[in-house]
């Protein structure tokens, strides 16, 4: 019999090896899936993992996809470390885009370098406000933040849909449910002409750097880690749990709101009901794939961006259904969580001691 034995200390090698193993396993299972769908498994995998690197435009698209994923995942990772489960980033993303976008639309045609920063601040603040709801309800009434933050995703999506078919609708848009385009001062500055990559990527890198400093060098980071690893000890040490809950939810909400605003004013270019495409949920996978570590999250954000772009390429060249990307991402999260057992436990063969007697 094989049994599990708790390791005295988490294995550092395994900590970094498990995401790689999980990725390999996902690819193997994915190949079986492709074969079952009647596609050449090797060719499909090549399409998924090579085409995103084929030219400059595709590389720039990697930045486009990785930016919101990294921004959101950095925020979520702080909460996940402390055992605070904000799974409503998708809603905070939507509200950030909606509120910041509304500011841009209100100043339509204004030419000012201050417009964009004003939109950033509004988007970030709106995301924070949306995340403040579960924070308040959890700290004041003890209501579970998982359910509250998730339910607010549906509310945010419906609110976006209501407003772009109502007050925010493009007056010259033939009644389509969409806003005006963000132009001039209200458009996200691009990194390179002819691509959709925008300066939001630097914000994502900055967020990762700040998170890294916070976790390693600041007392708040210490409180977050202790609350997650030893909640009772944290309480005895006099940490105020409510403050950490507020901090984690506000930071993750603000970053998700900012990501939403970047997406609306950058790659998408207007407010449309289909703006939320699931980055808020995929970012949960990114956070775990990156081991809740800022540097890991940057790498994981790019890995996940590859699956998005590769999935799109496979959809076109291999005629795969678009749901394949989602299945792939779901599998990856499963394998990641399942492989975690290797870093905290080790397998031992059970010896029968009495047999010798």
């Amino acid at each position: 019999m094989i049994r599990l034995e708790r390791r005295p200390e988490t294995s550092r090698a395994m900590l970094w090896l498990t995401p790689v193993l999980a990725l390999i396993l996902t690819i193997l299972v994915g190949m079986v899936l492709f074969a079952m769908l009647g596609k050449d498994p090797v060719q499909t995998v090549v399409v998924i993992f090579v085409s995103p690197f084929s030219d400059l435009y595709n590389l720039s698209e990697l930045l486009v996809k990785a930016t919101p994923l990294i921004l959101i995942a950095i925020g979520l990772s702080l909460g996940f470390r402390a055992g605070i489960w904000n799974i409503g980033a998708e809603g905070q993303f939507t509200i950030g885009a909606l509120a910041g976008g509304a500011v841009g639309l209100a100043f339509h045609g204004t030419d000012s370098i201050w417009l964009m920063p004003l939109m950033w601040i509004t988007g970030c603040a709106a995301g924070m406000a949306w995340a403040a709801v579960p924070a308040y309800l959890r700290t004041r009434f003890g209501a579970n933040e998982i359910l509250v933050s998730l339910m607010l995703v549906y509310v945010a999506t419906l609110l976006l849909s209501a407003l772009v078919t109502g007050p925010l609708r493009d007056p010259d848009g033939f009644n389509f449910p969409e806003s005006r385009l963000f132009e001039g001062s209200a458009a996200m500055p691009l990194l390179m002409e002819g691509t959709r990559a925008h300066i939001g990527f630097f914000a994502a890198l900055l967020a990762a750097l700040v998170a890294w400093l916070l976790l390693g060098r600041h007392v708040v980071g210490f409180q977050i880690r202790l609350l997650g690893e030893a909640p009772r000890a944290a309480r005895f040490a006099g940490f105020v749990e409510a403050r950490v809950i507020w901090f984690c939810l506000l930071v993750s909400g603000g970053l998700a709101g900012l990501a939403g605003l970047f997406e609306a004013t950058g790659p998408v270019g207007q407010l449309v009901p289909s703006l939320p495409v699931g980055y808020g949920f995929t970012a949960i996978i990114v956070a775990f794939l990156g081991r809740l570590n800022p540097l890991g999250i940057i790498i994981a954000g790019f890995v996940m961006a590859v699956t998005y772009l590769g999935g799109e390429a496979a959809e076109i060249t291999m005629q795969l259904p678009n749901a394949v990307t989602e299945v792939f991402q779901g599998l990856l999260l499963f394998f990641l969580l399942g492989m975690d057992v290797l870093s905290t436990y080790r397998f031992r063969l059970r010896r029968r001691i009495r047999e010798a007697a």
């Binding site: 209501a143 339910m151 057992v341």
Partner: protein, 306 residues
């Protein structure tokens, strides 16, 4: 009278998928496991039920297939959390993400496809009673099944030895283990039951309610079912009440629209979500004496020492 019957009937239809899923999750949580993947299991049940019914032409095969598919998803979750000791919250999310993706993949050839709706059973004589006849005796078989499974669950949890053991495992898994109960096995069985019922809840949507498949057709009902379990204080009878209350909120929006009140439909569609939040807060904020306690080992990882 006619309107009252219609409203109550609409409430029952909306409540049935919630009741299935909540009844299943209630047993799972009573065994001490928090499976947040209800939405994923429901949507897999919906697609499996639809495809099997469409291919075999048999509703019964579709319903059974949905239950098995839901249970298979739950066992995958069990493998993750009970054998590989993964975090239950994260694994539940993974189950939902995976289920939504897999169902979209499986069902991609079936959108726009239609199957015959599940026929209603009209119980002779009783169905003709005014008011109560249409309400209680003219439903699809799955409606009766949802009530029967709830009663069965209630009986199992309160009246049988096995139910008592299941609750003991949920209250304190270490103690239950030390007196020789197979914790992991019991939890796996509870999970399979919960998954099968979530699958049935999904199948009710795709076979009985609207005989159509569309992506993400469960639309958050799995999450509402989770809220109902807390609302019910982990008691089957109160789960019935909770499911019908939430069902009532869902159809309220239709009737408000029917009255011709000029509110964009999106605001009305927010009602069930907002009510779910409000109810969750109301429960958390009520004085401890009035609250029913969650199972002691809920959500905690069990690792047998030695």
């Amino acid at each position: 009278m006619e309107l009252a019957v219609n409203i109550i009937l609409g409430m029952m239809l909306a409540a049935t998928p919630l009741l299935f899923a909540a009844t299943g999750e209630l047993v799972v949580e009573r065994a001490g496991v928090l499976n947040l993947g209800v939405e994923g299991m429901m949507v897999i049940g919906a697609v499996a039920g639809f495809i099997i019914t469409a291919e075999s032409g048999s509703h019964l095969a579709g319903i059974l297939g949905a239950a098995i598919a839901g249970a298979a998803m739950a066992l995958l979750f069990g493998l993750m959390t009970q054998v590989l000791l993964a975090n239950q919250v994260a694994s539940g999310l993974a189950l939902t993400i995976f289920g939504l993706g897999l169902s979209a993949l499986l069902g991609s050839g079936y959108s726009g496809f239609s199957i015959p709706a599940l026929p209603r059973i009209e119980i002779p004589l009783l169905a003709d009673i005014p008011f109560f006849g249409p309400l209680l005796f003219r439903h699809e078989p799955m409606f009766y099944l949802s009530i029967a499974l709830l009663l069965l669950t209630g009986w199992f949890l309160t009246r049988t030895r096995a139910g008592l053991i299941l609750k003991a495992v949920g209250e304190n898994h270490d103690a239950a283990h030390s007196i020789g109960h197979p914790v992991v096995l019991i939890r796996m069985l509870a999970l399979a039951w919960g998954g099968a019922l979530a699958g049935l809840g999904g199948a009710y949507l795709s076979i009985a309610r609207t005989p159509l498949w569309s992506e993400e057709m469960t639309a958050g009902r799995g999450w509402i079912a989770l809220a109902i379990v807390v609302f019910a204080g982990w008691r089957p009878t109160r789960a019935l009440l909770g499911a019908y209350l939430f069902g009532g909120v869902t159809i309220l929006q239709l009737h408000v629209q029917g009255l011709g009140i000029a509110i964009p439909s999106q605001y009305l569609s927010m009602l069930p979500d907002l009510v779910t939040i409000a109810v969750r807060v109301a429960i958390a904020a009520s004085p401890p004496r009035a609250q029913l306690r969650a199972p002691g080992s809920l959500g905690r990882t069990f690792h047998a020492q030695g």
